[in-house]
């Protein structure tokens, strides 16, 4: 177990380095002089000072050496300055956006997991009943509808027409912070974000549970006269959950993608909105900084799910 975790940690670290290489290359391919990203626009600099900075940053060096210098700066938290926002440093700008995104995604995922698994169990247990067919149809539509369309329609229906939820933002402007306020802003985008995911989880849960219910030990339990609902909850669901857990872990990346559309439509102040605004204004240092941080987060999350999976499933040590 320990050696497995260590091995996974090692690859995670390697991936992070490779990711940083990718980001670095993209940063160099992007139009514009890379030095612009490092000059604090607040500070007036002469041509000579610029050249000195260029030398110090190693921008007159061959690319691999430049990469190492950039990596060193990035590791110490220096991701440069935003071009568009009055010379704000990239790192704090990105960091302050992580919280809202995690909140939105966690809420969306939680809703998706609960509804998806519940619907999956119901569908599998009542296979081919109207409930099953109903859920399956909804799930198919959930998978096949673009996130931004459901977001727009949801916003229109629940905010503009029904006025059940605010039309955007994370907190009421100027109001003192309150959990209720946050929740009222969160619930609609989180529900809309969860749709596609809930559909995916429901389908996996249903298939996985059906398979388990067909297996010998479940039949044995049933034959032994254990109560049906007990069989399902205690034996079958637990085992059927395993592949679903991996699915959830591996779709965090996709959830980030979906969150971008939701954040854009609901003006949610997260990484997605930051990234879209940065792309709109071609603010490359912010784009690259955000990409690096998001990538790092995904790597860490994948790592954690792998470890969690190993903890749940003893077979993994052999594999």
């Amino acid at each position: 177990m320990l050696s497995y975790i260590l091995r996974r940690l090692g690859t995670g670290l390697l991936m992070l380095v490779a990711l940083s290489m990718l980001v670095f290359i993209l940063l160099r391919v992007a139009p514009g002089d890379p030095i612009d990203a490092y000059v604090n626009p607040n500070v007036a600099m002469s041509q000579a000072e610029m050249e000195a900075l260029r030398t110090r940053l190693g921008l007159d060096q061959p690319l691999p050496i430049q990469y190492l210098a950039w990596l060193q700066a990035a590791v110490t938290g220096d991701l440069g300055y935003s071009i568009q926002r009055n010379g704000v440093r990239v790192l704090p700008l990105v960091l302050e956006r992580i919280g809202p995104t995690i909140l939105l995604m966690a809420a969306g995922l939680a809703i998706a997991i609960v509804t998806g698994i519940a619907a999956g169990i119901l569908s599998a247990v009542r296979r081919n009943s109207p409930t099953d067919i109903g859920f399956s149809v909804v799930a198919f539509f959930g998978i096949s509808s673009p996130a931004f369309l459901t977001a727009i329609l949801g916003l229109y229906l629940f905010s503009v027409v029904l006025r059940w939820a605010p039309s955007g933002g994370m907190l009421t402007p100027g109001a003192p912070f309150s959990a209720g306020d946050l929740l009222s802003h969160l619930i609609l985008p989180a529900c809309l974000l969860s749709i596609g995911h809930a559909a995916l989880i429901m389908r996996y849960m249903r298939a996985s549970l059906l398979e388990v219910l067909n297996q010998d030990y479940v039949r044995t339990a049933r034959a032994k006269g254990v109560k049906e609902s007990w069989v399902i909850m205690k034996h079958a669901v637990r085992n059927a959950l395993l592949p679903v857990v991996t699915l959830i872990g591996s779709t965090v990346g996709i959830a980030v993608g979906g969150a971008i559309f939701i954040e854009s439509v609901f003006n949610w102040p997260g990484m997605g909105l930051l990234l879209i605004n940065a792309v709109d204004t071609r603010d490359y240092p912010v784009i690259m900084g955000a990409t690096l941080i998001i990538g790092a987060c995904v790597i860490v999350v994948n790592l954690l799910t792998d470890i969690a999976y190993a903890a749940v499933d003893p077979r993994i040590q052999v594999a």
């Binding site: 626009p41 607040n42 500070v43 007036a44 568009q84 926002r85 009055n86 010379g87 704000v88 700008l93 302050e96 509804t115 519940a118 619907a119 119901l122 409930t131 109903g134 859920f135 909804v138 916003l155 229109y156 629940f158 905010s159 503009v160 006025r163 059940w164 939820a165 605010p166 039309s167 955007g168 933002g169 994370m170 009421t172 402007p173 100027g174 109001a175 309150s178 209720g180 306020d181 929740l183 009222s184 802003h185 969160l186 619930i187 609609l188 529900c191 854009s264 439509v265 003006n267 102040p269 909105l273 930051l274 605004n277 709109d280 204004t281 071609r282």
Partner: protein, 527 residues
């Protein structure tokens, strides 16, 4: 059945959330006016530096103030921070009597601040957009704390209009910063100090700006406690928030007006935009050198049809930069819609050799659905005569970044779709068309250099006789009509919608957001 239960749970949860929100707002909240003040073409979200402002003056004017300001009907200029002003006979000396006011941080406002601000605005290092417009200023004198005298080296008919946009800044807060640092200082967005009826409280990045009442404002304490300017990615989002009751005011697209017209809960505000829309020909690319090509563009576009259909008739065809009757002379070429003539003009000019059917990027910062429709219509009309333009829509910062770049790539904007203020003071067009106003000095980013036009502007700006002024601007109009630095399109009406709960609320769709004396201290809101 389960689904029903599920939806019920979700709706109950949503309802609980919504009630939580409404109760938290109702709990003895301070009186707040929330609006999308920087939505629409007059706004400039994310800009806090009045020296760099090319728009957004409605909002800046809530916490900063200029010396003089337009009246809310935009017909005259009256005092603001200056209670009165006088001009000497040869129009070279402006004397301002200053109001007694304190800065938001408690320090007194004096004539020194005026001198400091004018000098700052003249200094190109600050990234100011006023340097060229204040060219005529030779000195600022401060005989006492309440008097400022601005001396000009030559008469400048547009000087007072320029001053309305110059927000007075506090010397005591900014003197320690070098002009170059000021350009991008974080001071503007974190702790700016002004003299207006509201003081800056905070800017929550990309979400909103919050101002609170200035208790000792000289014209009386504001009737509401807070004013909040919410940011929206587009007008549609602001309209959704308005309809959801979260904001009380926003600019709206003409398409949206019909939904509010018959609704008792809202007032529709309509006004002339004072902005002439044009297709701007970049003079640094070889496409538009021949005036026949420019004429062909004019003849190829059915402007009246576009106005009748896409603007619902609420716009006026422009055959030069002006549409106001007193500024438009007799005998202008009307450039009637005539695709055949456009084709023959192109053939004469040898368009096939100049460009032929190659795509031409058509850059714009107008990112509204209506503008997209207008551009699609113009694109189709130009395609009919063999000019293949491809719209490229960017947001305002990117647009400014491209056209004002230190070393601009002219191929990125061979053609633009833009607007420029042509009123209430007609000199507004000067900065975009005068050869002396090429960047970095001014806003003539198309590098238009047409001697006849430049001369007409210079004469008009130097005119000291008010009776002759209109005739001078008629000459400008004539020169534009013949030389076609732009293919002028129209001047459209613009709209805002305010909640009926707002009382004494003043807003007009002024170009670049004004400024004008909106007296935010008088705004109030019913529960």
């Amino acid at each position: 059945m389960q689904l029903k239960a599920l939806t019920r749970t979700i709706s109950v949860a949503a309802f609980l959330g919504a009630t939580a929100l409404t109760t938290s707002v109702a709990a003895q909240e301070p009186k707040t006016v929330t609006g999308g003040f920087d939505v629409g073409p007059g706004g400039f979200q994310g800009n806090f530096n009045p020296l760099a402002a090319t728009g957004g003056f409605t909002w800046l004017n809530v916490y900063f103030e200029p010396l003089v300001n337009y009246t809310a009907d935009l017909t005259a200029i009256e005092g603001a921070l200056a209670t009165e002003y006088s001009i000497n006979a040869d129009k070279t000396e402006y004397t301002f009597k200053l109001a007694k006011e304190t800065w938001h941080d408690g320090k007194p406002f004096t004539s020194k601040d005026v001198k400091f601000t004018v000098e700052l605005a003249k200094n190109g290092e600050t990234g100011t957009v006023f340097a060229a417009r204040l060219n005529a200023v030779s000195s600022v004198e401060t005989p006492d704390e309440r008097t400022a005298i601005i001396k000009l080296s030559r008469p400048d008919a547009g000087f007072l209009a320029t001053l309305t946009k110059l927000m007075i800044l506090p010397e005591h807060a900014l003197a320690g910063t070098t002009p170059k640092e000021l350009a991008t200082s974080t001071w503007w967005a974190t702790k700016p100090v002004g003299t207006g009826p509201f003081k800056f409280k905070q800017y929550v990045t990309d979400q909103y700006v919050e101002l609170v009442a200035d208790d000792d404002y000289r014209l009386g304490r504001p009737k509401v406690d807070r004013v909040i300017n919410r940011y929206f990615k587009n007008t549609a989002a602001a309209v959704a928030a308005l309809r959801a009751g979260e904001i009380q005011f926003t600019y709206v697209e003409p398409d949206d007006v019909s939904a509010f017209r018959d609704n008792k809960g809202f007032h529709v505000i309509e006004g002339q935009s004072f902005v002439v829309n044009y297709l701007g020909f970049n003079q640094q690319v070889p496409l538009w050198k021949d005036v026949r090509v420019r004429q062909a563009v004019m003849h190829a576009i059915d402007r009246q049809a576009i106005i009748d259909s896409l603007y619902g008739g609420a716009a006026t065809v422009a055959n030069c930069g002006y549409v106001a009757k007193q500024l438009v002379p007799e005998g202008l070429s009307p450039y009637q819609y005539d695709p055949a003539k456009a084709k023959s003009l192109l053939a004469e000019a040898g368009w096939d050799k100049i460009n032929g059917n190659k795509p031409i990027t058509w850059l714009t910062y107008y990112n509204t659905p209506q503008a997209a429709n207008v551009m699609a219509a113009v694109q189709a009309m130009l395609a009919q005569v063999g000019i293949n333009v491809v719209p490229r829509v960017v947001d305002t910062p990117t647009y400014n970044g491209i056209i004002y770049a230190g070393n601009p790539d002219f191929n990125q904007f061979p053609l633009v779709y833009a607007g420029l203020q042509n009123g209430p003071d007609p000199s507004g067009l000067n900065i975009g068309l005068n050869a002396a106003q090429k960047p970095p000095a001014g806003a003539n980013f198309l590098r238009i250099d047409m001697p006849e036009l430049t001369k007409a502007f210079d004469t008009a700006l130097a005119e000291t006789n008010p009776q002759q002024l209109n005739a001078r601007y008629q000459d400008v109009c004539k020169a534009m009509n013949t030389n076609l630095p732009w293919a002028t399109m129209w001047v459209a009406n613009r709209y805002g919608v305010a909640s009926a709960k707002l009382k004494d609320f003043v807003w007009v769709p002024a170009p670049a957001g004004g400024p004008y004396n909106a007296h935010p201290e008088k705004w109030s809101i019913e529960k």
